[in-house]
C-alpha cells in the first residue's frame, strides 16, 4: 500500500511536469465549460421563444377580435385562429441537446386537418445542424476519450522508451502495482474531470436532485472507465508509444465514427420508414376530394365517428363550416394508417439503433444521455402525440359551436384549450445504456486483466 501511494504521488509529479498534458486538461475543462454554457444558453433561447408564443397568440386573437367585433361564426375563427402546441425542455436538455435542434419545439395549429400541420419544421440553419451541437454530451462522448488516449498512450511505454523501466523493476515493486498506480492516477484524473464537469453542468442547469443525477454520473463514469480499460488493454500489449497512439486512435475512430456510421446505414436499411411525403399527399387528396363529394356522404361518415352530432341540422346551403371541418377530419382519418406507420417506423428505427448500443459505448452513452434529457426521437414523437391530443381537444371545443351554431364571442377566446408538454425522461432507456456500458467495461477490463498476466518486459 505504501509503495502504491509512493507510485501514485510520483505519477502526479510526472503529470505536473508534462506541460502538454496539463494544458490539455485545462483545455478540456475550458471546452467542457463552454459546452455547458452553450447547451444551457441554447435551451434558454428555446425557453424564451416558447415564452414569447402566448404574446404572439394574444396579438393574433386581438387582430381577429378587431376583424370580428361582434359575435362571429366559429368556423371563421377556427379557420384563422392559430394556437401553439409547445414542447418544453427538461432542465437536463441543456446538457444534451440531442435532436431538439432539428425537431420543432412548438407547432402552430389551426382547426384544419392536422396531418398538414404536424410535420412543419422550425427555421434551422442546416450548416449549423450538420456541424452539430457543442454541448456537454459532445464533450463527454467525443473529447473525453481523446483525453484518456492522450493520458494513456504512453502508459508504461514511456518508461520503457526512456530506459527507466529496468531500474524501476529492479526495485521490490510488482509490475502490476506499477500499472495499477498509473491507471489509478489517470482514472482519478479522468473520472474527477468527467464527474466534476457533469456535476458543474447539472448544478448550472439546475436539475432536480433525483435518481437521474446518479444515473447520469454512473453512465459518464462507466464510459470513462471503458476508455481507461481500452488504454490498459493497449498498454498491456507492450508496444511502442507511437504504436499505442495509432491503435488507440484507431479504436476511437472505430467506436465513434465507423460503427455509428455503419449502424446508421444498417438501421436505415433494416427499418425503412414509409416516406412521410406519402401521408401529406394522401391527406391532401382526401381533403380536397371532400369538396367534390356529396355533402350527405361526407356527413354520414363523420357522424359514424361522432354520433353525438347526428341529430343536428342537415346541411342545405352551398357551404357550411361544419361540413368543411368534417372533411378536414376525414382527411386526417384517411391518412391515419400512414401516419401511424410513419411514427411506428421511426420508433422502431430508434429502438433498433438503441438496442445495438453495445456495439459502441459511444452510441450507448449518447443514446442514454439523450434519453435522460428527453431530447431524443421518442421524446419528439411523444410531443407529436400530445399535439395530436391537443388538436382533438380543439376540435372538441369548436364542434358544439359549429354543430349547434352557437356564435363565437370575444369571451370564448379565453376558453380555448391551451397546450403544454414537457419532454418525458426515459430512465428505462438510460438504464439499458448503463447495462450496455457495463458490458463494454467488463469486456475490456477482463481482456486487459488477461493481457496483463504476461510479464512486463523492462526493455
Amino acid at each position: 500500500m505504501r509503495t502504491f501511494s509512493v507510485l501514485f504521488y510520483y505519477e502526479w509529479r510526472h503529470f505536473r511536469a508534462a506541460r502538454g498534458l496539463v494544458l490539455l486538461t485545462g483545455l478540456l475543462l475550458l471546452v467542457g465549460g463552454y459546452g455547458i454554457y452553450y447547451g444551457t444558453t441554447e435551451i434558454g433561447r428555446q425557453r424564451r421563444h416558447l415564452a414569447e408564443l402566448p404574446a404572439l397568440a394574444r396579438r393574433h386573437a386581438a387582430e381577429l377580435q378587431a376583424k370580428f367585433p361582434g359575435p362571429a361564426d366559429a368556423g371563421e375563427i377556427g379557420y384563422y385562429h392559430h394556437t401553439f402546441a409547445v414542447h418544453r425542455p427538461t432542465p437536463w436538455a441543456g446538457l444534451a441537446l440531442g435532436q431538439r435542434d432539428v425537431h420543432p419545439y412548438y407547432l402552430q395549429l389551426r382547426l384544419l386537418g392536422l396531418q398538414g400541420q404536424l410535420y412543419a419544421t422550425e427555421n434551422v440553419n442546416p450548416t449549423k445542424a450538420l456541424s452539430g451541437n457543442f454541448d456537454l454530451a459532445f464533450v463527454l462522448v467525443y473529447l473525453l476519450p481523446l483525453y484518456v488516449i492522450a493520458l494513456c498512450f504512453n502508459l508504461l511505454s514511456e518508461e520503457r522508451e526512456q530506459g527507466i523501466l529496468p531500474l524501476l523493476l529492479a526495485q521490490p515493486v510488482r509490475a502490476g502495482q506499477l500499472v495499477a498506480a498509473k491507471l489509478a492516477f489517470r482514472g482519478a484524473l479522468v473520472l474527477g474531470l468527467a464527474l466534476g464537469l457533469s456535476a458543474a453542468g447539472l448544478a448550472w442547469a439546475r436539475v432536480p436532485l433525483d435518481g437521474r443525477v446518479a444515473l447520469w454520473l454512473a453512465l459518464v463514469g462507466l464510459y470513462g472507465g471503458f476508455w481507461l480499460g481500452v488504454g490498459l488493454l493497449v498498454a498491456a500489449w507492450q508496444r511502442s508509444s507511437s504504436f499505442n497512439a495509432v491503435v488507440l486512435l484507431g479504436a476511437w475512430l472505430l467506436l465513434l465514427v465507423l460503427v455509428p456510421g455503419l449502424l446508421n446505414v444498417y438501421v436505415a436499411a433494416a427499418r425503412p420508414v414509409p416516406q412521410g411525403l406519402a401521408l401529406t399527399v394522401q391527406q391532401r387528396e382526401a381533403i380536397h376530394g371532400g369538396w367534390d363529394r356529396p355533402k350527405s356522404e361526407t356527413m354520414a361518415r363523420f357522424y359514424a365517428a361522432y354520433p353525438q352530432w347526428r341529430d343536428t341540422a342537415a346541411i342545405r346551403e352551398r357551404f357550411a363550416w361544419r361540413w368543411y371541418y368534417a372533411f378536414q377530419y376525414l382527411g386526417d382519418q384517411s391518412a391515419a394508417p400512414l401516419a401511424g406507420a410513419y411514427a411506428g417506423g421511426l420508433r422502431q428505427r430508434h429502438a433498433l439503433g438503441a438496442g445495438l448500443g453495445w456495439l459502441s459505448p459511444a452510441v450507448a452513452l449518447q443514446t442514454s444521455l439523450h434519453a435522460l434529457a428527453g431530447t431524443d426521437l421518442p421524446a419528439h414523437l411523444a410531443f407529436q402525440h400530445s399535439a395530436t391530443r391537443y388538436h382533438d381537444a380543439l376540435r372538441a371545443f369548436y364542434y358544439p359551436f359549429l354543430f349547434r351554431q352557437v356564435p363565437f364571442t370575444h369571451a370564448d377566446y379565453a376558453r380555448l384549450p391551451r397546450h403544454t408538454f414537457t419532454s418525458p425522461t426515459d430512465t428505462g432507456g438510460a438504464r439499458a445504456g448503463l447495462w450496455q456500458l457495463l458490458l463494454g467495461v467488463g469486456a475490456v477490463g477482463a481482456a486487459g486483466g488477461l493481457a496483463l498476466r504476461r510479464p512486463i518486459r523492462p526493455r
Binding site: 444558453t41 433561447r45 421563444h49 404572439l56 396579438r59 387582430e63 435532436q99 432539428v102 420543432p104 412548438y106 402552430q108 398538414g116 410535420y119 412543419a120 419544421t121 422550425e122 427555421n123 440553419n125 442546416p126 450548416t127 449549423k128 445542424a129 450538420l130 456541424s131 452539430g132 457543442f134 467525443y142 473529447l143 481523446l146 492522450a150 522508451e161 508509444s241 507511437s242 497512439a245 486512435l249 465514427v257 465507423l258 455509428p260 456510421g261 446508421n264 446505414v265 438501421v267 420508414v273 416516406q275 411525403l277 406519402a278 399527399v281 391532401r284 387528396e285 380536397h288 369538396w291 421511426l346 428505427r349 430508434h350 439503433g353 438503441a354 459511444a362 452510441v363 449518447q366 443514446t367
Partner: protein, 472 residues
Amino acid sequence: MVTSIAQKEFVSIRRDRRFVVLGALVLALLLAATLVGRRAAAAAQQARAAAQHMVNEQFRHQPGRHPHRVAHYGSFAFRPVAGLGFLDAGLNAYTGTAVYLEAHQQNSVNFSPAQQAGALLRFGELTVAFVLQTLVPLLLIFLCFGAFTEEREAGTLPLLLSQGVTMRQLAWGKIVGYGRAAALVVGPALALAAWLLAAGAGAGAGPLALAGRLAMFALSYAVYFFVVIAGAVLVSAGQRHSRTALVLLLGAWMVGCLVLPKATANLGAALHPGPTKAQLDAAVHEQAQHGLNGHDPQDRRAAALKDSLLRRYGVATEKELPVSVAGLTMAAGEAYSSRVYQRHFAALTRTYERQNALSAWAGLLNPYQAIRPLSMGLAGSDFAHYVHFQQAAEAYRYQLVQRLNALQAGMGYGDKERRLGAATWRAIPPFAYQAPGLGWALGHLLGPALALLLWAGALGWLGLRRLDKMKM
C-alpha cells in the same frame, strides 16, 4: 535528385505492411462509400422523382374546379438529389425534401432525413467526402509523421545531407513520394465515381456539367492532400522525435476536424441569432396585413384596387365589371405578401450566411474548413444550392398562384358560382427544377478555394524555404 528520393519513399511505403493494410482499408471504405452512396442517392432520387410525377399527374387530372380551389389544392416541390450528392451528402440530411406549394402561404421544406433518423445520424455519415476529408488525412499523418524524425533517429539524415541534397529537395522528394501513395488510395475511388457517373448519365442533368464538377472535386482534394502532406512533412522536419511529431499532428487533426468546425458553427449561430418560424410568420403576416410601412392596411389596399377598377372601366358597380374583383384582389394580395415574404426570407438567408461566415473564415486557419464547403459546393449539396432550390420552388409557387388568380380574374363577376374545365389544369406546366451550373457554384466558392490555395502556397513556398535555414 527529387525523383530518386520520391522513388525511395514510394518503394518503402509500398513495402511497409502497416501502410498497405491501412491504405487497403481506407480504399475499401472509399469504394464501399461510393457504391452505398450511389445506391442511396439513386433510391432517394427515384422516390422523389416518382412522388413529383405523382403530384404532377394529380394536378393535371383535377376535375373542373374553381381556380382558387386549385390554388389551395396546390402542388408539391420535391428537392432532387444533387448530381454529386452521392460523393458528398453535404447538408442533404439536414435540409427538407418536400415543400407544399399553396396559395397565401410559404410552407417550410419538410421531412429532412435528420428528422427521420435517431441520434445515430449525429455521429456523421460515412460518405466519400467524409473519408476524404477526415480519414485520408489521418492515414497521411501516420504516413508522414516520421518523414524526417525517423531519418534523424536512425542517423541517416546527416548521411543524406552529406551527399549534397538540401533539406528542401529532401522534403519535396518525400512530398512527391507520399503524394503518389495517396493517389494510389484515392484514385481508384474517384475513377469508380467517374465511371458510375458516366454509366448513369443520360438520365440526369448535363453529363458534361457533372464531369466538370467531378474534375474540380478531384482537383480540390488533390490540393487538400498536398496541404496535409506538406504540413505533416514540415512538422516532422521541425521535431527531434517521431513521437512528438505524431502527437502534434494528431492534436492538429482533432482540433481541425472535430473541435473547430463545431465550435465556429455554434459560435456563429450564437452571435447572429435568427428568427423562429413563429416570429417570421407573425412578422410576415403583420406586414402583409398592415402594409410594409405599417400604414397601408390590406382592406384599404383592396378598396383602392376596387375603386381604381371601377374608374378604369367607367362603371358604377362591381357587377358591371368584366373582371373578377376577388381574383384581382387575390393577385394583388399575393404579390404584396410575396414581396414581404421575400424580404424576410432574404434576411433569414443573410442571417444564416452571417452565421456560416465564421466557419468560412476559419478556413484560413483550418484547411478542413476550406475543403468542406468547397466539396459540398461542388457536389451541389451546400447551403447556396439549397437556397437556390427554395427560391425556385417559391418562384414556381408564386407564378402558379398568380396564373390561377389571373384565370379567376378573367372569369368576371360571380366567378364563385362557376368552375373552369379540367383541360385548364393540363395546360399549366409542372414544377421542374434545374440545378445551377458549375459556373454559378464556383462563384459561391471563391472564399474556400482561395483559402485552400493560400494554404498550399504558404506551405509549399514559405514553409519549405524555411527548411533550408533549419539546423539538421
